[in-house]
Amino acid sequence: MPGTVRPKHVESRETRTRLRCSLAMLAMLFCVLSVVAQERVVYGKVTDRRTGEPLVGATVTVSKGQGGTTADANGRYRLVVQGSQRVQLDYHYMGYRPERRELLVRDSLKCDVLMESTAKELHGITVIARSEIRKLRESAMPVSVIGEHQLQGTASNINDVLARTVGVTVRNTGGMGSASRISVRGLEGKRMGMYVDEAPMSQLSNFVALNDIPTNMIERIEVYKGIVPYKFGGSALGGAVNVVTKEYPPVYLDASYEVGSFNTHQFSTVLKRTDRKSGLQFGIGGVFSFAKNNYKMTLDNLDGRTVERDHDRFSKLMGGMSLKATKWWFDEMKWELIGMRTRQEIQGIDLDVREAYNHSVSYVTSLKLKRNNFFLDGLDFDFDAGYIIGIYGLSDKAMHRYDWDGTQLPPVSPFGGEQNNFPSDGSNRSNELTSRLNMGYTIDMHHAVNLNIYADRTSLHPKDDLMDKALGFKANFPSKMNTVTVGFSYDLTLFDGRFQNAFTLKDFFFSSHSRSINTYSVSEPEPVDVSKTYLGFSDAMRYKFTNDLMLKASFNSEVRIPTSEELIGNGYSILASPALKPERTTGANLGLLYRHVKDYGGLLEVELNGFYNQLEDMIRFTPDMIPTMARYRNFGSVRTKGVELEMKGDVCRLLYLYANGTYQDLRDVRKTVPGTEVENPTRNMRIPNVPYLLANFGAELHKENLFGGSGQNTRLLFDASYVHQYFYDFEMSKYQERKIPTAMTMDAAIEHSFGDDRWTLTLKVKNLADRHVVSEFNRPLPGRYIGFKLRYLFK
């Protein structure tokens, strides 16, 4: 019962009120919907394995006489299964070898089936196949896929899950809401593309991180390494994270509430309702996150004392709605509207910051259009457009600073401030329009082409009168930036699909306009206009030796267009760098994948990848000669070599294990100090402050009806993560002490669902051993976190 859920750390009236509101919302939702029966939907497509042709009329039957159906004109089928259960589906089609799938149906799921013809191939037949062929082609990319189940359990958010993925590191500066940076194979930040359903997050990522997307809404997460699939567009070059959200059955309600240590509360809900007749799906959802993050931290730089974080309160409110039509000529037409509001206090480490905080309000609207056979058989049309408006800033107006002894200190400037060297009262505005068009045409089973155009227009309007006053002159200027990336791809499939190759040629164009004060001697800002274009390409191929064993190889030489902040500054503290060149990367990946599906449906997968990458003209943030100002510069060249090994599989029907390890060796390969003949003192040294040896291990023990009864499922989960110590500076001296120490953290959870997954209770413990962990230098992370999550799912 919701009313029985009591948080352990409920202390303040404010917290109690918040909890009561959340529980009341849950209770109302349950009352409304608890009378409706539960159904799961198994759906998918039946196609010819070789040609991809839909097998019209193929029969699909459910074991134990629970009914069946036949595939429609497109090979699609749909079955309704009552309650959570393990089912066996049999697929039959004349002239084809029968197929059987054993599925644990706890949620609606998709099951596509490829059937093999028993007849000999007829000579000269050409068959147009679309989605399946393309799907297989894309698997030539180095990719890790995180499934829905991994998103539950010990994880509270996407970052928790990504951190366990091979080759991925997630580094946080604190608890919930803190700044975090995700890196793939050592390349991080802006080099990583962040996508939701293949649409770039772009400027949106200034206001909402992937981490803010409730895990309940996610079907899977794909982590691409090195090469970004051509359909995604944009100019990411370190890799990409694509969050794929769920397809929903006709009625769907998902609501969850988690309460945990450090006054943490997370509530999220999604309601989807589809009208069968019109095909219209209406959705509404929201997320509220709050945390005081008042965990104890040890100040290593300050006599090792332990203090409680006292100014790290984070709150985020996000609400959205969507309307999806599937019968309005387009196969899919979707409109979304999302609003977000965030407030985050700034936690001091060296000093006790008491007033400064960041704030933002943003609104996003987007439109998605999809149609296969777009005016032409075999031509697929996919279009996204989004508009984001955000208002954000730093409020730092305190007239006193304090140290951890409570001693009052003067502010950083006569006008106040606890940080930097000037106060802030920012109310900056940004507007962004993004659009992506993808047109794919499958010529025949051997050849296909694809055109992707991604365009983005950003304008920034910084405003901070208090900062201007403290600096003594107007330093905030508006700016605009446009980028267009055009990618043309050619897919080749040979040897009955065993060999696939995707070649992509990209053109990157960007232009910008701003004004900037470059030196003190210039009293009026100078106009900054930039317009540049670059070319890049990538190639990914795979060869299947057997159904289980595959070789993957890829090569790329691409550029990353500087962001608007890098190129034209932010209008106040970061100066324009019109001469900035894009980063260019040249990389290769070679991988071997063994994937075997056992008779009972269990999986065994082993993947080994080796990679090489050279990043030129690395863009770095550097302070400028004008104190308090900074700018981005091309500086440095980094070479990465590495290897990844991942193993995962069902040991038996009850036990699933995974383990992975990554060694990534990033080295400074500049020969000389720029502009001189002097040998670079850090040549061939490991790039500091980047982890290079990491590993993960996990186990899941799952059993249905462990405690008797029916419709219940219990999971015991354990995850361990290891990051070997790495130095904050270049490794030069044997006396060097500044480093990020080795971290070995363990998480555990017990999850029990009942009522055929309608209710799920999860008790989770993160950082089980309560270890002192940092992933960013001098930024202590939370100790042991105990959380309890209640999830209600109706469909």
Binding site: N301, D350, L409, S413, N420, N421, M625, A630
Partner: protein
Amino acid sequence: MKNFKSILTAVAMTALVCACGSSNDDPTPAPQPNPNPGTGTFKGVIFATSVTNPEGNSGASYMQALTDLLPGTYDNSNALPVGFGTKPIATASGNVYVLPDYMGNTKPELNRYQIDAAGKWIKKGTLLLPANAAACNIVELNNEKAYVSLQGLGIVMAFNPTTMKKLADIDLNDLKQTETKVSPAAMIVRDGKLFVGLNQMNAQYMPARNNIELAMIDTKTDKVEKHIVNTTLGMCFATRPIDPQSIFMDEQKDIYLNCIGSFGFILGLNGGVVRIKNGATDIDPDYSIRLDKTEIAGLSTKHAEFLGEVCYAGDGKLYAYANSYGLDPNAKTNPYLSITNVPIVIDLKEKTMSVIKGMEISNPHGIAIGRHKGLIVFGSANKKANGFYTYDPATKQVAGPVMRVTGNPCYFHSFAK
């Protein structure tokens, strides 16, 4: 926004400085060397280099000792890490103080070392400083009292160098101008009075007016006795905070100050050299070397904007690195790569300046200057090499690099007589 915390390194790194001057020429009342049986007396040299991280705005500095100025190539594998953006401070007593990073992000503690005859570092004590203090300069009064200036807090802290315990805070914040905060910089003791150069800095770390200001503190009471202000000489920013020798005395006990001005950024806010004559407590209104008005003989751009590093060598001769942005067209937009620091010699009596022929022009990181056995030693990070060069004032001969180093040679001090 946290990145902006790093902007101060721009100041710190545009003209890194070094301590120089042999103890026998320094008329500052010097404490007696701390006797330490068994360690012997170190007669060699110490030097430091700085190496930046890939971001360029952070990094580490490394300090090491040699028994003599021994030609060779030296990496940092056996060097002690020291604060980035600051440099060690060696005193006549034989103490070597190591400050934390100027920009923070390291333990805010002051460590005192001594060196045995073989060049081995011996840690003698630690003083915990306030966070974000930006400690920059230390002077010793005697074995029981020394002062450390805390730029970030507007405070000079008195401490006992033997026990490394805090004695008192001397708050100078009341001396700030209306639009600036006050930051104590380099200091010197004369006749029981501590003269503290004051940097009045606005939010851009820049001076707002042409005031040369000092605080004069009575070392007996640790009270501010006088706020010294000069508004007539047309210069500002008294002393460079991380250059202990930017305030020094000559043989006549006249105090000289190297004023930084606005680092050459703001027209009209100038740098140069001024003095406080022996017996006086005001800046001599009749003596100055204004850089914007005094040509440097042999310099193609004729004028420098500020002296990034100075070292008084006696007999009115001041050796310096003079910064002239005109030497590099990209100097103002690329502080890390600009080659704009020219070794010069200044005749304080004649008020003339001239380039030292044969010495290389350096980037702003590698501008150490020191003295060793009659030679002037210049650390230089130039287009050809990173290392230490020597200049013989008697023969005017330049040699080097005598010692090649890894990183930017930012500090040099010799204990040799």
